[in-house]
Amino acid sequence: MSLILIAALPFLGALLPGLMIRSGRTACAWATASVTLAALIGLLVHAPAVMRGEVIQYQLEWMPMLGLNVNFFLDGLGLLFAGLILGIGLLIIIYARFYLSRNDPMGQFYTYLLLFQGAMVGIVLSDNVLLMLIFWELTSLSSFLLIGYWKHLPEGRQGARMALAVTGMGGLALIGGMLILGNIVGSYDLTVILQNKDLIQASPLYLPALILILLGCFTKSAQFPFHFWLPHAMAAPTPVSAYLHSATMVKAGLFLMARLWPVLAGTPEWFYIVATTGLITMVLGAVIALFKDDLKALLAFSTVSHLGLITMLLGFGTPFAAVVAVFHIINHATFKAALFMSAGIVDHETHTRDIKRLGGLRHLMPVTFTIVMVAGLSMAGIPLFNGFLSKEMMLDVATEAPWNGNHWIVPALATLGALFSVAYSFRLIVHTFLGPKRDDYPAKPHDPGFGMWAPPALLAVLVVLIGIMPALMVGPLVATASGAVIGGELPYYSLKIWHGVNAALFMSIAAVAGGLVLLAMHRPLDAAWIRARRPEAKAIFDALMGTVTGAAKALTDGLHNGAMTRYASVFTLAVILAGSAAWFGGTAPAPVREVMAIGPVPLIGWILLIVATGCMAAFHRNRLLSLVLMGIVGLIVSVAFAYMSAPDLALTQISVEVVTIILLLLALNFLPKHTPVESSNARRFRDGTIAVLGGLAVGGLTLAMLLSDFSQESISAFHLANSKPGGGGTNVVNVILVDFRGFDTFGEIIVLGIAALVIFAMTESVLGSPVGAWLKQRPINPNEAGDRHPLMMVVATRVMMPIALMVGVFIFLRGHNEPGGGFIAGLIVAIAIVMQYMASGFDWAAARQRYPYHMIIALGVFAAALTGIGSWFAGRPFLTSNYGYFQIPPMGEFELATAMAFDVGVFLCVVGAVMLALESLSRFAHRAGDRPSPYPMDIDPSRDLPQEAKDA
């Protein structure tokens, strides 16, 4: 079977449980198991070749640019791990079928499990470190789902998050390390990396890479000080613990250390970091395990201890130690998985995992007892069981590992670890199964069904078989796997029960004896342990996470507290500072332009402007006054435009001004008329400082600009030259607007149209909400004068509206050649209509409005767009204009340009948008009691005249 298929099968198969669960739990389990079985068979097919020393490969390009490819390879190490993952996985699937209760969603469980399995297989088969990283992180994610599987349990959620946080962190460090590694070697392919030991170890980046990679490995393999997550992951269902936390996930770290052993190991850095960490972890885990009353917690810390042991072995960096490590990986997987499953059985049957509430189960659960006995003795390192063999070899290695010149510290600590290991293993057996039967078990215990005990039993058989005939059972596997780890000649070693009388034997005996003493003294020791103050990992982690989360929340909420004033001051300051820095980092242009003399007219304008501007800031709390002042500033600005040769701008500015003021007045009617004093003096000073800085910056930039010249001739020379011959108009500004840059104008009128639509939609939304009802019911302001629609105003409007329309037409028509155009004309017409609204009221005027403003806007956009599209038919791009001169007898010659049609669109859009906006806004004032005015004016004495008098 192709390697990719082996890796992909669990992923593909992950879809199955969800589908099969409808056919029943057994069918679901079988489907899942068959997937794993298929993958296992696929793997074993390759076993002979691998045993022969061949390396199976598979390559598929994925992201060649990054060097991320779907490259797999299978060597001895991969075979060992993949075999463990799939083999134990198969047992776990069967076990879980019986373990999970009817209430547990089994389909989900198997899906997660298969995802996890696939990720693990992926890690061990990957030939590309980036690909491996993907699988690596996937194990973290899928284990998150598995640990949190019982989502109703808070421990499950917390445990899952803790595991994810710790292993995720390691995974991210690992990414960094792998990238460095790939950077050193120039390839992310493992097979290439593994051949570059010298390059890697000589690199100055070796140490950072090593530390980052080890961070990944240590967190995953629960090495001190990252060991604390593993016990909390025990909130997961036992099959998960048995699988993830004995045989697979925690071994991923070991796998990676083994995988990279050829290129990373052998340096002092490696030794001191890896071996020391392993040693500490081994001892610490074993000590803590002894004092755990929860069966699974005990096993979890024992796992921590054994992982430390293997880590230490790998850390020694000698080939023989590596062989021992490989051997112990196999042994640990077998006895630990069996123990976890057995613990699950105990839990399942007695409804408790608390050793203090157990004891005497030997009689009630003989089968389980047997399995635990075998596996537990193996864990204790008792001869005839496989754990003994590898532990013996470990102690042997330890005697030859001086630590900073000190020859006894490693063996001593290793023995200590073994001693505690013996103690807790015996405690597990003795305190759970031996002793008198109790009558207060939470449930009545008995052995489970075959399906549940068969998997651990099978493992227990293996424990014994390997323990008795190691060379026969696992000799070739250990050889190939260690060969892959060492990446060269295998050292001399022998897998046999009896190695003769040596130091290791004495250490072993000491361990067993000491362990038994410890067990005998457990009660007082336990009491002392409980009394002793020691750092509680979970509490520290929780406190840390709480602090971090709290800090994150405080920082986030503090920084983004919704204070617009602060946001705006940060914005302004950032702009001023960045702009100044940019300016002073460059060379300022020399002032080359002559300064124009200051005439009296501009001087007056300037004084007025400065005074008005200053007053506006000073008196801004009086809103009406500040609005008036703003109108004055606008007026001065538009006169300034006129003065500085920009008549079009003056016209536009002034007509926009008035509409803006009307809008603001309409709004101000509902807003408070005064702005309260809220800022402290210090704050006002600060704001004033920012304002002055901004003013200085902008003023300075303006001056520099006005005194310098274009670096090259402006493109507007072309516009001036081509306006008449090319665009058919003499008002160059207008020709730019409707022709040269007509597309800008197209966007601009759409902005206006959208503005009106937004205003309309918002008005609808506000008036449709409770606010609208409240507005309608609000009391009439007693401070209102009478005379809604004054007679004089109405009459004046009647005369002025036609004249204003006339002016609008005039301004529109001349726009192409003289100041004016569709935009200004549109505003004038809109103002004329607004005048009508102001005079005779909304209802009366709106009743006489024949075309909805929505429609006018849309027609405007259409007119502009269709004019532009029209040029397609002439084979020209959008908005290409044409013009001609026509002669109609009484009226003389006149010019028609397609740009004018475009300008009609502009005109319509402006009229529609302005009117729709004002109309929407004026609807806010509608009150429930208001009567639509039937007359254009409130006072009309002619209404009393007899009809004849009117006709006369």
Partner: protein, 522 residues
């Protein structure tokens, strides 16, 4: 004459006008037109993308005026990619809006939506700096309307901030454009590129100011710290489909930075070389960190998604700030990814919100919602994508960025920021997800467990969100071809001369000299 280039701008404009004109009061008709238009736009966009693959740069001279005197639209691989991405996102968003009924909660949703698309497409396609401003305004004003669609006090207040902040941005844009014009006398980007490169060495201060101001303008759009303050409240309070569409809004800022600071103020332009990269990189790093911290510190899912967007912009801008072809490839890949993922996340958040009794999105235990499992799965996938965890494209994008950054001086800081940022995000997402989907409040005794009937069993929201997820998966699976294309795109981006030549020396320019506009006396 290839008029297709202008189609992505014209079609939505005309369609929006048509909706206003003919279907102002008929939501069903609006939906039909809106979906038809959006799907057609996707088709056009794909067509343009295919066209751009040839490597030729398409130039469309509006009004038949040659660059730099008229406005031109430019279709290169970059703009085609952005247009296609937006169009694809738009299809999902419009379907979600319809399926969830969001479009009915106020007036003119579809018209504004089409106008919004017009603005975005215009911004991507234009080759003129001032026209870019105009399209920024089009897309902004449409976004204002969409942001407050549905109304409500909180949304309106957040909307006011959003508008005010962007008005500042627009003002700044004009200052920048004024400065640019004052120095160079041109507005066309290609022409600008030429003229800026030829500036005398003793006249750099003004153009430097212009360059930095313009960068700040785009930084506002791209939510770069310290100009990102508009984003969290806006995204969190905007209607979900709009927040999803906004996923591409921040990218417009990134796009503009890429465009302007490779073409005009490129790394090899002496006058401005030292101001953009060095400013951008640290800001991007801080943005990333602040965003990810926000993910951890958020108390509402909407804000969580918003800060995830900030964080993703940080990652993206880190890649952008390197201004190398390789990094730009990474940036583009990450940009596509984060757009899809960010949008999906907002939609998932909305699904939760819609199903909760109080319609809130607080990250706390609440009674079980309908379709909890499926939505949780969606959230899990979107979270993985946003946090940049394997196996989705976020991880690949992150790897690309990490890989691209290797030669940079700040490599350690950047790597640490990206990796630590991911960790914080992972923890934050895990916290939020487990609180919202796992820690389900059990209803009081005696009440039915499924108290809330499913508010909207409509499949369309799931289809729309699923479509985005499918996009992410496709981006992951086809990472090879996609990065190959994006690599070509980056190469084209950094080939300034080709761009300039295409815009300023098209065959049309020769014809233009003889002035096709001659007025004929009749």
């Amino acid at each position: 004459m290839n008029h297709w280039i202008v189609a992505p701008i014209l079609l939505p404009a005309v369609m929006a006008a048509f909706i206003i004109l003919a279907a102002r009061y008929q939501v069903a008709l609006q939906r039909v037109f809106s979906v038809a238009s959006t799907v057609a736009l996707l088709g056009i966009a794909i067509g343009l993308l295919v066209k751009s693959m040839s490597g030729d740069i398409g130039v469309y001279e509006l009004g038949n005026w040659p660059a730099p005197f008229g406005i031109v639209l430019v279709l290169d691989r970059l703009s085609a990619t952005m247009v296609t991405l937006t169009a694809a996102l738009a299809v999902a968003v419009v379907l979600y809006a319809i399926g969830s009924g969001w479009d009915k909660r106020g007036h003119h949703f579809h018209a504004l939506f089409q106008f919004q698309l017009m603005g975005i497409f215009g911004a991507f396609l234009t080759g003129d700096a001032f026209n870019l401003f105009v399209f920024f305004e089009v897309l902004l004003i449409a976004s204002y309307g969409l942001m407050i669609h549905g109304g409500g006090a909180v949304r309106l207040r957040a909307g006011v901030q959003y508008v005010l902040y962007n008005l500042l941005g627009s003002t700044l844009f004009l200052f920048a454009l004024g400065t640019i014009y004052a120095v160079t006398g041109t507005l066309n980007m290609a022409d600008l590129a030429q003229r800026v490169a030829e500036l005398p060495a003793d006249d750099t201060a003004m153009i430097r100011v212009a360059a930095i101001l313009l960068l700040l303008v785009f930084a506002v759009k791209a939510a770069l710290i310290p100009l990102h303050f508009w984003l969290p409240a806006t995204y969190a309070e905007a209607p979900a489909p709009i927040a999803a569409l906004f996923a591409v809004m921040t990218k417009i800022g990134a796009y503009a930075i890429i465009r302007m600071y490779t073409l005009v103020f490129g790394p090899d332009v002496a006058a401005t070389a030292d101001i953009v990269g060095p400013w951008l990189m640290p800001a991007a790093v801080v943005t990333l960190i602040i965003g990810m911290i926000g993910v951890l510190g958020a108390s509402h899912m909407g804000r969580l998604a918003a800060f995830a967007a900030v964080g993703s912009m940080g990652t993206l801008l880190i890649a952008v700030a390197l201004f190398t072809p390789q990094a730009t490839t990474a940036a583009l890949y990450y940009m596509i990814h984060s757009t899809l993922a960010g949008a999906a996340l907002f939609l998932v958040v909305d699904m939760v919100r819609a199903r909760r009794t109080a319609e809130d999105d607080i990250i706390a235990s609440r009674p079980a919602i309908a379709q909890n499992g499926l939505i949780a799965a969606y959230f899990f996938a979107a979270a993985i994508a946003m946090a940049g965890m394997p196996p989705l494209s976020g991880f690949l994008g992150k790897l690309l960025v990490l890989d691209a950054v290797r030669a940079h001086d700040m490599v350690w800081v950047i790597w640490a920021a990206i990796l630590v940022g991911s960790l914080i995000a992972v923890v934050g997402f895990a916290r939020a997800g487990s609180m919202v989907f796992w820690k389900v409040e059990t209803p009081p005794e005696g009440e039915a467990s499924e108290a809330e009937p499913s508010p909207s069993a409509a499949a369309l929201p799931f289809v729309a969100t699923g479509g985005l997820m499918a996009g992410i998966v496709a981006l992951t699976v086809f990472a090879g071809p996609v990065t190959a294309f994006l690599s070509d795109t980056s190469a084209q981006i950094f080939d300034r001369d080709a761009y300039i030549a295409a815009v300023l020396e098209t065959p049309r320019a020769i014809e233009a000299e003889s002035l096709p506009h001659e007025g004929t006396k009749k």
